[in-house]
Amino acid sequence: MTNHESQLKLQAFMDGELSVREAAEVREWLAQDAEAHALLSELRNTTAALKGNEPQCRLPETREFFWSKIEREIERQGAQPMRPRPVAAGSLLAWLRRHLMPAVGVAAVCSALVFIAVRSHGPQLRIGEMALVSDDMGSYTYRDQADKMTMVWLYDRSSADSQVADSSDIDNVTTE
C-alpha cells in the first residue's frame, strides 16, 4: 500500500468524500491490507485528537480598546454599512462620468490623442492581466503555462457560500 493515490483514497474514505461504490471498494481493501488499516488508524487518531481541541486563545486587548480602534477605522472609512450591489457595479460608469465628461469639449483632439496612445502604448492592462469592475467581486487566476490556458474564476465576495469574502482582486496560481 505505497501508492500515494491509494493513500489519498483512504483519507477520502475516512472524510466521507467517496461515493458509496468507492467506499465499498476501500472497505474490501482494508479487510485485506493490514498496512492500510494501520494508516487509517493513524489518520483517525490524528483527526480525533484535533476535533474539538482547537487551541484556545483570547484577544489580548480589552473590549473597550479593541472596539475603539474598530470604531475609529469605521469612522475614517465612512459611517454607514454599504448597501449590497446585486450585479457587478456601476463604478466604471461613475468613473467614466466623473473623468471623461469634462473632456467632451475637446473630444476630437482627445480621440486623436487616445488613438495615438493606444497604437503606440497598447492597452491599459498588460497581457495576462485582468481587472474587476466591482469591489464586490473577487477572482482567482489559474495559469497552465504548458497548456497555454488562463482560467479566471469570479466569485461574489459577499456570498458566504462562495467561501471567499475578502481576498485580493487577483490571486495567481501558475503551473509549469
Binding site: P55, L59, S167
Partner: protein, 204 residues
C-alpha cells in the same frame, strides 16, 4: 423653569440575539455592532492566530475583518450564522496575507516538498494513539505546539478541514487550488501532525 430632560440611556444589547443585533447594526446602530464584536472577537482572533501564528498580525487582521464586516453587513443575508460569516471574512484576509507573503518569497526546495510530501511520504505509521489519556488542556497545548511547526499550507488546510469543517471542494475554492492539492496537503499535514504529537509525547 426648564423642563427636565429624560436621561438618555444606552440601549442594552446584551440580551439580544445575534440576528437582532445584525438587523440593528444594518440600520446603523453601532452599539449593536459593538456587542457583536464583543461576542465573537475571541473566536475571530483565534482563527486569525491559528492561521498566521503571529499575535500582531492576527490582531491587525481580526480588526480589519471587523471593519470589513461593518462595510459589508447589508450583504449578509443570514444564509449562515453571523459567526460563520465573520470567520470566512477573517480566513480570506489571512489567506490574502499568506499569498502576498508567498509571492515575495522565492521558491525553495522545502516549498516544493510541501506539495510532494517531503519526508512525510516515508514516515512510518504511528501505531499507538499519542494523545490517549491526555487531559484536554494538555492536549490543546500539544496541538498548538505541533500546529506551530507545520508550514502555512499544511496548517491552513488542516484548520479549514478539522476546525472549520469544510469539505475538500470548499477548501479548494477558498485556497484557490485543486482538490488533488487539498487532499495531498491534508494527508501530509495529518501525517506530520501524528509524528509531532507522538514525538511530543515521548519528549515528556
Amino acid at each position: 423653569m426648564q423642563p427636565v430632560k429624560p436621561m438618555k440611556s444606552k440601549p442594552d444589547h446584551s440580551s439580544a440575539s445575534d440576528e437582532q443585533l445584525v438587523e440593528a447594526a444594518k440600520n446603523g446602530d453601532m452599539g449593536a455592532f459593538e456587542e457583536l464584536v464583543a461576542r465573537h472577537r475571541d473566536k475571530i482572533y483565534a482563527r486569525a492566530y491559528s492561521m498566521m501564528r503571529n499575535e500582531d498580525e492576527a490582531l491587525d487582521l481580526s480588526q480589519e475583518a471587523w471593519v470589513k464586516s461593518w462595510q459589508r453587513l447589508k450583504q449578509f443575508q443570514g444564509e449562515s450564522s453571523f459567526g460563520t460569516w465573520m470567520t470566512r471574512i477573517v480566513i480570506n484576509l489571512c489567506l490574502d496575507q499568506l499569498r502576498r507573503r508567498k509571492r515575495q518569497r522565492t521558491e525553495s526546495i522545502e516549498e516544493m516538498d510541501e506539495e510532494s510530501g517531503g519526508v512525510e511520504r516515508q514516515m512510518p505509521v504511528v501505531t499507538a494513539n499519542p494523545t490517549e489519556r491526555l487531559e484536554r488542556g494538555e492536549l490543546r497545548k500539544k496541538i498548538d505546539h505541533a500546529l506551530g511547526q507545520l508550514s502555512h499550507e499544511h496548517r491552513t488546510v488542516l484548520v479549514l478541514h478539522e476546525f472549520e469543517e469544510m469539505e475538500y471542494k470548499e477548501i479548494a475554492r477558498t485556497m484557490g487550488c485543486s482538490i488533488g492539492t487539498v487532499m495531498s496537503r491534508l494527508f501530509y499535514a495529518r501525517r506530520k501532525m501524528a509524528a509531532l504529537l507522538a514525538s511530543l509525547k515521548t519528549e515528556d
